[in-house]
């Protein structure tokens, strides 16, 4: 450990951020958890401490189960979909291709557009009319002979459809991450493997993929936390309907429609906790790994 004189300036430089994060992140989190442990179920009452009662009670609410199921399905489809599509696009471009810049720009640009802007289009595209009433994608599918769907209004698989706009938006970013990862693999390593008699696929499996693990992990984390917090997209495309309910939307309804602050805070706590469960191990792991190297 160096002497204080050498590290103090650094701490000073970071201190505004420490204060800001302390207040805006941890202050708010503290406020939220405290509220979640009271019985303040309207805006007027003071609210007594009730411990974890709200956290237990929430599991008796049928809608909570629906929204959790939806969130799980959305997360699985969105994370896997964006990861696979992003990887595949990067894989196609890895060795360089004519017009790469243009391709990259097109795949990346959905990130630039907000769902306030594209919500209407996705509503049109994923219209559930079929047959002669088909519009949007169903009309297109009708013409090219693909089956037609209920899209996000399907009671069982709707959330999988809801992941489509999210995949559209984020797979470009994943593509960029993977492409950067591919390009970061030193050519000497590949060459060495080839000299050792590896096939192209072998090189890929034994050299490139292992080196991509950290990229995959950070993409996973970014996608995962976006997915658990997903709100804008769902509200823009479907509104606050039960058929596409997720905890983040349920929380909004609890706070602003049902005027039940404690319930809203409880749901928010669950969202934070669920994110924390897989983020904290990652953070600890990556910091430790770095220290070792």
């Amino acid at each position: 450990m160096r002497r204080a004189r050498s590290w103090l300036p650094g701490l000073l430089l970071v201190s505004p951020s420490i204060v800001a994060i302390g207040v805006f992140v941890y202050g708010m989190l503290g406020w939220n958890f405290r509220l979640a442990m009271t019985d303040q179920h309207d805006e007027v009452s003071e609210g007594e401490f009730v411990g974890l009662k709200n956290f237990v009670d929430l599991w008796d609410v049928p809608r909570w189960h629906v929204s959790v199921d939806h969130a799980v399905m959305f997360t699985v489809v969105f994370v896997l979909g964006a990861l696979l599509l992003g990887w595949f696009l990067a894989f196609l471009m890895e060795k360089g291709i004519r017009g790469e810049g243009t391709f990259r720009a097109v795949y990346l640009f959905p990130m630039a557009v907000s769902f306030v802007a594209t919500g209407i289009v996705w509503r049109w595209l994923m219209n559930s009319g079929t047959g002669e009433r088909a519009v949007g994608l169903n009309r297109l599918f009708d013409v090219i002979g693909l089956p037609q769907w209920q899209w996000f209004r399907d009671p069982d698989w709707g959330m999988a459809a809801m992941a489509i706009p999210a995949i559209w938006q984020m797979s470009g970013y994943v593509m960029a991450l993977f492409l950067a990862g591919f390009r970061g693999v030193p050519e000497e390593l590949r060459e060495a493997a080839r000299v050792d008699g590896c096939t192209e696929w072998g090189v890929y499996r034994h050299v490139v993929l292992p080196l991509l693990r950290p990229v995959t992990l950070s993409a996973l984390i970014i996608l995962g936390h976006i997915s658990l917090k997903v709100f804008d997209l769902i509200v823009a495309v479907s509104g606050k309907q039960i058929v596409t309910d997720v905890p983040a939307v349920f929380m909004w309804v609890a706070v602003f429609d049902a005027h039940d602050p404690a319930k809203g805070a409880t749901i928010a706590s669950y969202i934070v906790l669920s994110v924390a469960v897989f983020v904290i191990p990652y953070l600890v792991w990556s910091v430790r790994k770095e220290r070792r190297s």
Partner: protein
Amino acid sequence: MAGVLGLAACGGSGGGGGQAAQSSAATGGGKQQVEVFSWWTGPGEADGLQAMKKIFEERNPNYTFFDAAVAGGSGDKAKALLQSKLQADTPPDTFQGHAGAELQGYIKAGDLEDLTFLYDELKLKDVFPAQLVDQISVQGKIYSVPVNIHRSNVLWFNPKVLKEAGVAAAPTTIEEFVADLEKVKAKGKIPLSVGSEWTVTHLLENVLLGTLGTDAYNALFKPGADWNSPQVAKALENFKTILSYAGDPQDDWQPAAKQVADGQAAFTIMGDWAYGYFHNPPEGGLGKKSKEDFDWAPAPGTGGTYLWLSDSFTLPKGAKNRDGAIAWLKVAASKEGQDAFNPKKGSIPARKDADQSLYTDYLADALKDWSSDKLAGSIQHGVSVSQPWLAAINEAVGLFIAGKDVAALQKALAVAAQANAQ
């Protein structure tokens, strides 16, 4: 700042209303903003607001109207934003809310001023229908000024599709309605078009009223009301039957209404804001001919009853420009203001003394019924149930759409009523 305080003191002493505010503001110098918070940004509604703004600024040369409208399905986003403003004690000078139980939360939280003084000063109890005043009073006090009346229980239909299906006239009872839906279904058209989940709650309130009758319906919202009764069970069975004829849910009520206008669907049950959408030229309408391309009747079983809702303005406690807000409320309550707003918005005035010649076609019918019908308060649009209650009902309906479980729906509705009726 001193000018505002001076004005507030002046307004508090009662007296000459708009005139007094004018002269005192003139001495104070400078124009004062009046922040009017609403969710009217669409064609028609925004035009109506502008028309009222014009009158307001003519009458009050010292005030400027400051439009703080935020759009989003029936004021969802606006209401959330409003909630944050009220809790931070920075209310707008006046805000829009559905008259009735929707305002209960604000009243309980002490966010709203009692407007009885304004009603007395302007003798509003004489110009608004007694039933209306009664249904929006809370323990003898009134907290908002209704600027219009909408009707929820309207059955919109496509006459050509009905004719094709062999339906001679609009159904007047639930049984007839179901029989007609069946006939349309046999012809391969959509019997009943629906939109997103709130439109199904809208349908539910109409089926409840149509099955139970006006008095039993109104009794549902009194403390201790029995939502577990066999009558409610029957209404919910009807609801299930009717819903089984519904087409694929559309994005919102407009695409559902459009299916009727385009002849894809026969019926839709929607509030009378649909009239403007059917009738107005493009830029917010479909430009259809009334009675020919589309027609209307009271929702089945609800003839003689006006299932009403009303947009109203309030006076929040701690408003920066209280006097300006009162001046706005006076315009909103006035005959001139309501007659400027309503023909554009596609609703009828809450006042009984409106200029009838301004209201034609559907609105003429509505005006006639409004003066003679019994009144029942809408659920989805904030008259009969508070916001938490409505949230619980919408949740129950949303789950019902997926599961179609009548018993579960009735249980959830009963629990919601027990928790919220007061």
